[in-house]
């Protein structure tokens, strides 16, 4: 192994001035960040970040618009799911995490509806094929959300009610018939 050591100049070999230079850099960061942290407490300069930290889950990095997040079942104007239990998503799903039990719909105009619609999110591989396969505008992955961690597997087995409740993130929505939604606004002061 070849060790190359740079020759220090006289001032550098005294360490002192180099130490002061280093301390000045860290002090500059400290004072600059403290200035903005303090200003944030008084509600000033809220658009200038005082730290590079993104405080997930309160703050989130904006994902690409094509990014596939948590699933959602799109709804009709009356709030019921658009799904007609055609089983295309269940069939196309490469990891078989979608489980649909079909039932007759009350409305004679509509053939079927899912009696239960479950997605085992622990198995999902986020390929988005279900979204593509859906012929009736019912399955979307445009919520912009990462599934939360959970203490039990049951909570990660999303059922129909959970999936209907999901809303598309504004600007991300891929369906023309999406219900209104949106991420809750984060109060930046609450993060301190």
């Amino acid at each position: 192994m070849k060790i190359v050591s740079e020759k220090l100049s006289l001032l550098e070999s005294l360490y002192l001035f180099e130490i002061i230079r280093g301390l000045m850099i860290t002090t500059r960061h400290f004072t600059r960040n403290m200035y903005y942290h303090t200003a944030h407490l008084f509600g000033l300069y809220l658009d200038v970040p005082a730290a590079v930290t993104i405080q997930y889950p309160e703050q989130k990095i904006p994902m690409s618009k094509r990014w596939r997040g948590k699933h959602r079942l799109n709804t009709r104007p009356d709030g019921s799911t658009r799904c007609v239990a055609c089983m295309l998503c269940e069939t196309v799903c490469p990891v078989q995490c979608i489980h649909i039990v079909a039932a007759e719909h009350e409305d004679p105009e509509i053939e079927k509806c899912p009696e239960s619609f479950e997605i085992d999110i622990t198995r999902c591989c986020w390929c988005g094929m279900c979204e593509e396969a859906c012929p009736v505008d019912a399955m979307y992955m445009d919520t912009g959300e990462i599934p939360e961690a959970s203490y039990s597997r049951e909570e990660l087995n999303y059922n129909k009610e959970v999936l209907i409740k999901q809303r598309p993130l504004p600007g991300y929505q891929r369906s023309l018939n999406a219900p209104g939604g949106g991420a809750p606004k984060v109060n930046p002061l609450g993060l301190y």
Binding site: A51, T53, L191
Partner: protein, 358 residues
């Protein structure tokens, strides 16, 4: 009776200040390093949704440490193993007994010296109990029945003993300049002025001595860039086999040591309680203006100034800890013996020479 009450009050004030600052230091270390590195720092411990910038973290840490198992190595020496962290705490705390935090306070017929004990050997007392801290490191390493702890203890002892020489020799310069080894005399003497306007603080009289003292003092506190004794992440230090609150006591001892060093630096080199141009009669700037202030206002102002100086140096030591990388062990020893020690000797000779000439 009255004397005893006053002494107890002084102890309560000083140790209340020191212990609180030391406890907050554990929070400040995390927060300050975070702010310096453009991060946020610990802020997740909350009570009823209130986070108050992470100030619950020291409490949460304490609860965690108190409720953890206190494990003593089966082949170790339980008595010494338990004694070591308390020695470290004791040696760090006792230094404050001689640090003056204010001028003499006159209340009615009472003259209260704002210092817990006015020892005639003040500086020596500080040095003596500073060295006593070594025992806690060596004993902790030895009683742990762990070769790496033992090596860590030996490493720590070698480092602390080496830097103690430079530390003591750099103080000699201050003693020569002010002609006393009582800390309150030294602090009082720093109220004079050079050329009428520059306060005659230790750092003005002894700039080189201050640098040596500060470098050696940081090494004494065993913190980066001199943190080889523990070096949490890489090498194994002397308190590997400690858990629970005994480990916490070592940490607490380290933070108290920082406050202690800040106090000694303030008393020796930064005028103790002195505020420039603030004397017993009030604010007086030669040639500009003078405001008369009552004695009972001046003294609290001076005590406040002392506290702020100490807090500034605590901040500064954290700044150093989060700026500089660690020395290699041979660099550490070379720096101590071949650079700081000769420099400290030179400082003593230079000071003596200058004192004779002027």
């Amino acid at each position: 009776m009255c004397d005893a009450v006053i002494i107890l009050l002084k102890i309560a004030v000083v140790f209340g200040f020191v212990l609180n600052v030391a406890a907050i230091m554990s929070w400040a270390e995390r927060k300050q390093s975070a702010v310096m590195q453009d991060r946020i720092g610990a802020n997740r411990a909350d009570v009823l949704g209130f986070r108050i910038i992470g100030l619950f973290h020291p409490i949460a840490d304490t609860i965690k440490m108190l409720t953890k198992e206190d494990w003593i190595p089966p082949q170790g020496n339980p008595l010494i193993h338990t004694l070591a962290p308390f020695l470290s705490l004791f040696a760090a705390l006792i230094v404050f007994a001689v640090i003056p935090f204010g001028d003499t306070l006159h209340v009615g017929s009472l003259n209260i010296q704002l210092q817990i004990v006015d020892l005639s050997v003040g500086v020596l007392f500080v040095l003596a109990f500073g060295s006593l801290g070594i025992y806690s490191l060596v004993l902790a390493g030895w009683s742990s029945d762990n070769k790496w702890s033992l090596l860590g203890g030996v490493r720590a002892a070698a480092q602390v003993i080496s830097y103690e020489l430079a530390l003591a020799l750099s103080i000699v310069g201050v003693i020569m300049v002010y002609g006393s080894i009582e800390l309150d005399d030294i602090a009082r003497a720093q109220g004079q002025y050079v050329l009428g306007i520059i306060p005659y603080w230790g750092v003005v009289a002894q700039p080189l001595g201050f640098l040596i003292f500060f470098a050696a003092a940081v090494a004494e506190t065993k913190r980066t860039p001199f943190d080889l004794p523990e070096s949490e992440s890489e090498i194994i230090g002397y308190f590997t086999e400690y858990s629970g609150m005994k480990f916490g006591a070592f940490w607490m001892g380290e933070f108290i040591e920082i406050v202690a060093v800040a106090g000694v630096v303030t008393a020796l080199y930064f005028g103790g309680w002195q505020v420039p141009f603030l004397n017993d009669n009030g604010l007086f700037v030669p040639g500009l203006f003078s405001i008369h202030l009552p004695h009972l206002l001046v003294v609290p102002l001076q005590v406040l100034a002392f506290g702020l100086k100490v807090i500034f140096f605590c901040w500064f030591m954290l700044l150093i800890r989060w700026t500089l990388p660690r020395f290699r062990y041979d660099q550490l020893m070379n720096f101590g013996w071949k650079f700081l020690l000769p420099l400290a000797l030179l400082n003593v000779v230079l000071t003596g020479f200058l004192l004779i000439v002027f």
